[in-house]
Each structure stands twice: as C-alpha cells, then as structure tokens.
C-alpha cells in the first residue's frame, strides 16, 4: 500500500505520459480544433487561437515535423490557402495526451 508522501514526491499521476509537443497550449488548441473537423485553413486557425501568423506558423510546422498534422496548399481567389488536417499519428498522440491529462485531474482529487 502506498503512503500519501509517496504520491506527493512522485507528483500527480499521468505527468510523465504527457506529450511534450502538446504541452504548448497553441499546439494543443490547434490539435483539439482539428480533431473535430476534417480540415481547417490557416486563417481560421489563427483567428480561433488568437495567435499571430508567425507564431502559429512556427507551431504548426513543429506539428507537421512530428507528422501530427498534414497540410495541403490550395489557391482561392488567387491567394494561397493552407488546409490543415489531423493525421492518424496526431489523433493517437492527442488521445494519449488527453488521457494523461484526465489521469492528472483524477489523481488531484479536486
């Protein structure tokens, strides 16, 4: 049987299972939004997440490099539009991350 002091020294359960890439709230927000839709374009993601173009572009690039999101470029009214979608790897990573967050919330006993 574990003592209360053990859990305090180890910290909340699930912390070690958190995905380091998804601990940035902008990236987590983008992944959560993408999980609910087939595709979202860059401008919409930027407006919903209230991020600057440069910051969001950098965060999405990291998710792309990890193959969590895919991107498709199109032209609309002669303007480039990037459509982002969640990959199967990204979906699995997001689920694991959310499960870990849930475990943390449960272990907090609030």
């Amino acid at each position: 049987m574990s003592r209360p002091s053990d859990s305090i020294s180890r910290g909340p359960r699930g912390l070690d299972q958190l995905d380091a890439l998804l601990q940035h709230r902008g990236r987590l927000g983008a992944m959560v939004l993408l999980s609910a839709h087939n595709e979202i374009n860059f401008s919409t993601l930027r407006d919903l997440l209230k991020e600057s173009d440069g910051n969001l572009g950098a965060q999405l690039r990291k998710l792309e490099d990890a193959q969590y999101v895919g991107v498709k470029k199109e032209f609309q009214d002669r303007k480039p539009v990037s459509w982002y979608t969640l990959t199967a790897i990204g979906r699995r990573a997001l689920k694991a991350h959310l499960d870990a967050l849930e475990a943390i919330v449960r272990s907090a006993n609030v």
């Binding site: 910290g11 909340p12 912390l15 958190l18 601990q23 709230r25 987590l28 927000g29 959560v32 939004l33 609910a36 839709h37 087939n38 595709e39 979202i40 374009n41 860059f42 401008s43 919409t44 993601l45 407006d47 919903l48 997440l49 173009d53 440069g54 969001l56 572009g57 950098a58 999405l60 690039r61 609309q76 009214d77 303007k79 480039p80 539009v81 990037s82 459509w83 967050l101 943390i104 907090a108």
Partner: protein
C-alpha cells in the same frame, strides 16, 4: 517538471477556443433569405389566390432547392473549416421528400384532412422537421420549429389572413437569426514560414 497550475490554464484556454469556435459559426444567409421569400409569397397566396398556392409550393420547391445547393456550395468555399461528415443535403432533401410523401399519403387516405386541414398538418410536420434541424444544424430552429407547430394549429381559428400572418412569422423566423450571424472574414494572405 510540468506545473499543474499551468496545465489548468492551458485547458481553460483550449475550452475557450472550442466554445469560441462554436459561437462563431456562420449561417448561409442567402439560403435563409431565399426560403423566407418562398414562404412569404407562398402562404399569403393561400389567402389572396388560393388556386395558385399549391402550384406555387409544388413548382417553387425544386427551384429553391437547386438554388440552395448552388448557394451552399458557394458558402462552403468561404468557410475556413471542412466538416468530417456533411449530411445536411441528405437531411434537408430527404426530410422535404418525406414531408411531401406524408402530406400526399394523408391527403389521399383521410378525406377529412383535405383542403385547409392538410395545409395545417403540413405546417405542423414542417415545424417538427425544423425542430430536428435545430438539434442537428442551427440552434435558431429550436424555437422556430415549435413556433411553426403552434401557428399551424392556430391558423385554422383565424378568420382572415391567417396564412399571411403565418408566412410572415415563418419568414421572420428565418431572417432574424441571420441578422446575428458573424460576418465572413476577409481572406487574407498567409505569411506562414516556407
């Protein structure tokens, strides 16, 4: 080590982002106005030229539906999101055909329902259909649906211009929510790296 307070703040942020995405959902305004015009012409015809109202509803519906498909296609291009599954066409077309079939079958099977009554029954069924549309697509239909059901029942007790009033109520129910729809964002050039 990750700070749990930071995690809490991040989750709060994500929750806000998701609820903002739901609140900011736009409506295809042109489609709502098109159908508002359709009912605003069709129902008053029942009071002023009853002979032509059935013909108008029957002939106008396919025209409006084709126009709706075209407008919906244009609207979707302006949206920044593409849904995983889009069953709206099946819902609206299938539902409309079912209503048409139900009304025709009831009119044929129950002679007492012919004339004024079948029109009232049709409005009640349309009201139920709009309520279901509210559950699946647009929250504003959650109140328009029951309102149409009540109007459909009451219109039989109104001696003059009851159908005209119903047409106005129906049209307003479609137009008013569009006045509170967020405006489409300007398509801006992306400055993503690479």
């Amino acid at each position: 080590m990750t700070d749990t307070h930071q995690l809490q703040q991040d989750l709060h942020y994500v929750r806000e982002v998701v609820s903002n995405a739901d609140r900011g959902r736009r409506r295809p305004v042109a489609i709502y106005w098109l159908w508002a015009l359709y009912v605003l012409i069709g129902y008053p015809l029942k009071d002023f030229a009853p002979r032509y109202s059935g013909l108008f509803f029957l002939m106008g519906w396919p025209v409006c539906f084709v126009a709706t498909v075209y407008l919906a296609h244009r609207f979707k291009k302006t949206l920044g999101v593409r849904p995983i599954r889009d069953r709206s066409k099946l819902f609206w077309l299938g539902g409309a055909l079912l209503i048409l079939f139900c009304v025709a079958a009831m009119s044929a099977a129950i002679p007492a329902l012919r004339g004024q009554f079948i029109g009232q029954v049709a409005v009640v069924i349309v009201g139920i259909f709009y309520f279901l549309g509210g559950v699946h697509y647009d929250r504003s239909f959650l109140w328009l649906g029951p309102l149409l059901c009540v109007c459909g029942l009451l219109v039989g007790f109104v001696p003059h211009y009851g159908w005209t009033a119903l047409g106005i109520v129906f049209a307003l129910g479609l137009i008013v929510p569009t006045l509170f729809t967020p405006r489409p964002p300007e398509l801006s050039a992306e400055t993503t790296p690479g």
